[in-house]
Structure formats: structure tokens, C-alpha cells
């Protein structure tokens, strides 16, 4: 098993990979991909029991990227893990590419559920967790949600279900970056005290720094060990690692221009040293 600092380094390297992918594609969501770099890398490199050479292994742990627009980061992590060759990454969003703008399970090995329309991933996770229970399988279901997408009411229907059936095999992680397409979550439609809201729905919560791998490991571990449905609220920064992107809603899905690309690579590479 990799050490936290090794996972942290991989996540940072994959940010550069994702930047390259989006730069080449001339479209894609860089801000929300960067905010969940450590979260997805930690899940695949530390927690998840998967077989890259047997992507549909029935006992694998499942991952649902409910915030499907962060697909580039998931693709980079899956490729690093060995689900498919690295060259494919640079076909992102091209006609005929298995790397669709949003994850498509029939196109690419390692995608457990197609996503893109926000606020639907949690319900699918509930279904997978219920199936594990009734079939006696031991796998765990991880669902990564954005904070903005929690505005969709369906999330709260799913949370009620998770609490009703006490789904201890479901772990929810919230990429709490505070920014959505039109602006700050607090201005667009505030989530208010998300912790107490989740608790009132019967979901136990853990909080951590979503860019600190050691902190992430401890919180996700605690959520897994908790006897019931639990969520990890991972505080993150949209566009993390690039000064002019950090916390800026403009970078939700903006095209990276040449000079911005150079600057971003310089900053991200600098952080590796």
C-alpha cells in the first residue's frame, strides 16, 4: 500500500495530466477536476478493491462520480491504475473516443456508472449498496458528490433511503469546493450548515481537508468503520494548484489558452518539487 505522501504526489502529477488532456481537447472542466484530485486518487490507490485486468469483477468496490464533469480526473486515475493505456487519455472529447465529456460506462473499462446529469449518483449508489446486501457480497460503494449538485432534491431522497436501510456499505464523499458554474454556492443556493443537514437526515459526518491525503485516509477510514451510512465532507479548493484558477467560478469549464497553460504547468510542476 502506498504512503500518503506517495498518493499526494500521484494526485499532483495527475493534475498536470488532466491539464494536458483538457488543453488538447480545447474543452472540459478543469476546476472541478482539480478539486477532487486527492479524493479520487486516495480512493483508488488506498481503499478500493478493484482488478484493472478484470474491470467487471462482481466483488469489486464501486465508485460513482456523481459530479460527472470531473471525468478527466477519474480517467487519469483509472489509467494510472492500469485500466487502460495512457495514450487514450489524450483522445478526451474527440469523436469516437471512449473518453466522453462525461463518464460513459459502456465506452471505458473501470467506469461503474455513467454520469453527467447532476444529483443522480447517490441514488444509484444506494441501489448498488442494497444489491450487495441482498446478494451477500462484501463490496463497498463510494459516491463522490459535488457540493453544488446537492441542490438537486434527488440527493436528499437518496440520503433518506440510505438512512432507512442503514447502508453501512455506502460511503458518501462531498467535494466541498464552494463554487459552481454561476458563482459561489453560498450565493447561488446556500447549503447552509451542511453537516447538521446531513445529520438530521440520519447520515453520520466526518470532516477533513480534501487536499491532505493523510487527513482524507483517516476520515474515509472512520466513515467505513462507522456502523451506518456516513459522509465525508472534504473541504477543497476549486482549481486547486493553479493560482489564477483557485476558487474562481470562471474556471468551472473554461478553455485553457496557450499562455494560461504555460503558467499552470509551471505552477503545478513547481509544487512537485
Amino acid at each position: 500500500m502506498l504512503k500518503p505522501e506517495e498518493i499526494s504526489r500521484i494526485a499532483q502529477e495527475l493534475r498536470i495530466t488532466v491539464l494536458d488532456m483538457i488543453y488538447k481537447a480545447r474543452s472540459g472542466h478543469v476546476g472541478g477536476s482539480f478539486s477532487c484530485a486527492e479524493i479520487i486518487t486516495t480512493l483508488y490507490e488506498y481503499f478500493m478493491n478493484v482488478r484493472p485486468d478484470e474491470p467487471c469483477w462482481p466483488d469489486r468496490d464501486r465508485f460513482i462520480l456523481s459530479k460527472g464533469h470531473a471525468a478527466p480526473m477519474l480517467y487519469a486515475v483509472l489509467s494510472k491504475k492500469g485500466f487502460f493505456e495512457e495514450e487514450k487519455l489524450y483522445t478526451l472529447r474527440q469523436l469516437g473516443s471512449p473518453l466522453q465529456g462525461h463518464p460513459c460506462m459502456f465506452e471505458l473499462p473501470g467506469i461503474d456508472m455513467s454520469t453527467g446529469s447532476l444529483g443522480m449518483g447517490l441514488s444509484v449508489g444506494v441501489g448498488m449498496a442494497l444489491s450487495a446486501r441482498v446478494t451477500g457480497r462484501k463490496y463497498r460503494v463510494f459516491v463522490l458528490c459535488g457540493d453544488g449538485e446537492l441542490q438537486e432534491g434527488q440527493n436528499w431522497e437518496a440520503l433518506m433511503s440510505a438512512a432507512k436501510w442503514k447502508l453501512d456499505n455506502l460511503t458518501v464523499i462531498i467535494d466541498y469546493n464552494g463554487v459552481q458554474l454561476d458563482g459561489n454556492v453560498n450565493d447561488i443556493m446556500p447549503l447552509s450548515d451542511i453537516e447538521s443537514r446531513l445529520k438530521s437526515f440520519g447520515i453520520h459526518t466526518f470532516k477533513c481537508d480534501g487536499h491532505n491525503v493523510e487527513d482524507l485516509i483517516n476520515s474515509i477510514q472512520a466513515a467505513i468503520r462507522y456502523d451506518g451510512p456516513a459522509a465525508v465532507i472534504a473541504k477543497t479548493v476549486k482549481g486547486k494548484g493553479v493560482s489564477f484558477m483557485e476558487g474562481q467560478s470562471a474556471w468551472h469549464g473554461k478553455v485553457v489558452e496557450d499562455n494560461e497553460y504555460e503558467q499552470a504547468v509551471k505552477e503545478l510542476t513547481g509544487l512537485l518539487r
Binding site: A25, H69, R93, S117, G148, E152, G153, L181, D182, M189
Partner: protein, 311 residues
Amino acid sequence: MRIESLREAYGQALVKAGSLNKDIVVLEADLGKSTRSCLFQEAYPERYFEMGIAEQNMASTAAGLALAGKIPFIHSFAVFASGRAYDQIRQAISIPGLNVRICGSSCGLSDFGDGSTHQALEDVALMRVIPNMTVLVPADAVETRKMVEAMAEYKGPVYIRINRNELPVYTSEDLQYRIGGIYTIKEGQDVVIFANGVMVSKAMEAAELLQKEGISAEVVNVSTVKPLDADTLVEKAKRFKAAVVAEEHNIMGGLCSAVAEALMVNNVNIPLNFVAVEDKFGTSASNYEELLEHYGLTADNIYNKVKKLLA
């Protein structure tokens, strides 16, 4: 040929409508920068409601505003505006016949990069089957502006789908537009091409190709899919040897179906064919034209269908 952005034209027209009618309010589901409803927000912040990523709540809230005398324009991508909030649009807006305007932006394949989840090829069909609903598909920026102006005064729910990209302008500034109108863009003698949205420009290109072979094609913009002016449509179709219908939508349930239904029941038995998406979902591509070509939404395809019908 002048090209102009439809969504930009939409946003500007919305601001203008808002200046003339203080009852107009605008609701947005976190895509304002993209739908261009953000222009209304800048102009009239007190009449702009950012609802967040919650299309169902937005649709029903609009019903409440309409019941209390407002004229709400609600916004999202076409796929979410028509699909995610479908039941709310049906139950709370359409059954009571409320004055809610639903803007489905980034329609068809025009959001080329995002892929199938974000591309709306079923929205016209979904909206068309709801009683009381009016369905508009503008071909260009000028028609978009005229439609928004007309929508402000219109009674009952309206769905308008807006293309994300810049398209050639064929609609004359002088056109006396009315919802329900069917507009001839180019006159012809041999065949008629009924089209709307981006396919009007493809039909015009096809007409040029046909002209080179001595085939004179009429191009008709059927931008109101519902209520369809069947009488005018039938009168036009009767004059030709064949007809092709072209739309950026699933071949089922949209303009193709609407035209076929109207011609069939009125005994217009001319050869007919369609250029539309052949019952498929969208996919990602690096540009819009490439994607239109992939699904056969091209001038060449219209040309080929016409030639086959006349053979």
C-alpha cells in the same frame, strides 16, 4: 452570410422584453453564463431568481409566480429543462396552462464536447406531446429575438430551444413574425425542404447544390413545431413533387413526425423523407460541424434524400 450567436441574441432579447414588461421575471438553474440569462440578471437583479442546480423546484416555483401574475422565463440546458423537470412542467405548468416560458439552451448537438448526457435530441418530442404547450425552434439570431418578443405577450406555456453556437442569419429583420407562422426562406418549384433550427442553414446549402443540377428547391422554416399550421403546410407541400423534413433531433416525435402526420391526414401523398438523428444518443466531438456530419445532419444528406425521392 452573416453569422450570429443565438444564445447571445436570446439573452439580449430577454433584457429588452423585461424593459417593456415589468411582469417578466427570470429563473435560472446555475447555467446563466451559458444560457445568457445572466444579461437579465445584470439589468434587472430584483426580477432575477438564481435557483441553483434544481430544475424541478425552478419549474414549480415558476408556476407559483405565474399564478400570482408574473411571466416567468425559466432556464437550463434543453436536456435538463425538458427532461429533469418534465413532471413539474406537465402537472404544475401545462395542465393549468400557465404563462411560463421554458428556455432549453444548448439544444440538439450544439453542446458538442459534453457528450450524450448534455445533448438534447428528444426535447421537442417531449414538449410536443404535452397538451397546451407551444414549441418553438428558431433558425437564427433574428428569429430568436422575434420569438422572445412574441413570447412575452403570448398566452399559455411555451418551450423554446436555443442553439449554443453562431449560425447564419436567414430571417429578415422586416419579417412580421407571429408564433405559429411558417416562413419561406427561399422559393422553388420542384421540391420542398421543411426545416427548423440549424437545419435551415443546411437546407439552404442543399438547395444550392440542387440548383447546380437544375433542381429548384423551396426552403421553408417551420419554427413553430406546435401548434403546427397544418393548413399552410399542406398548401405548400401540394405544389411540389417531393418533400424532405430536416431537424436536429431524434427522427421520432419532433418536426419530422409533425409534418408527416399533417400531410398524411390531409391526403398529401407526395414522396417524403427525413434528415434527422436516427434514434441515437449524442456523443462527444471536438467541434459542432464534425458532430452534425457524424449524425448525417448535412446539406449533402438532404441533397441525397431529395435526389432519391425524385429518381
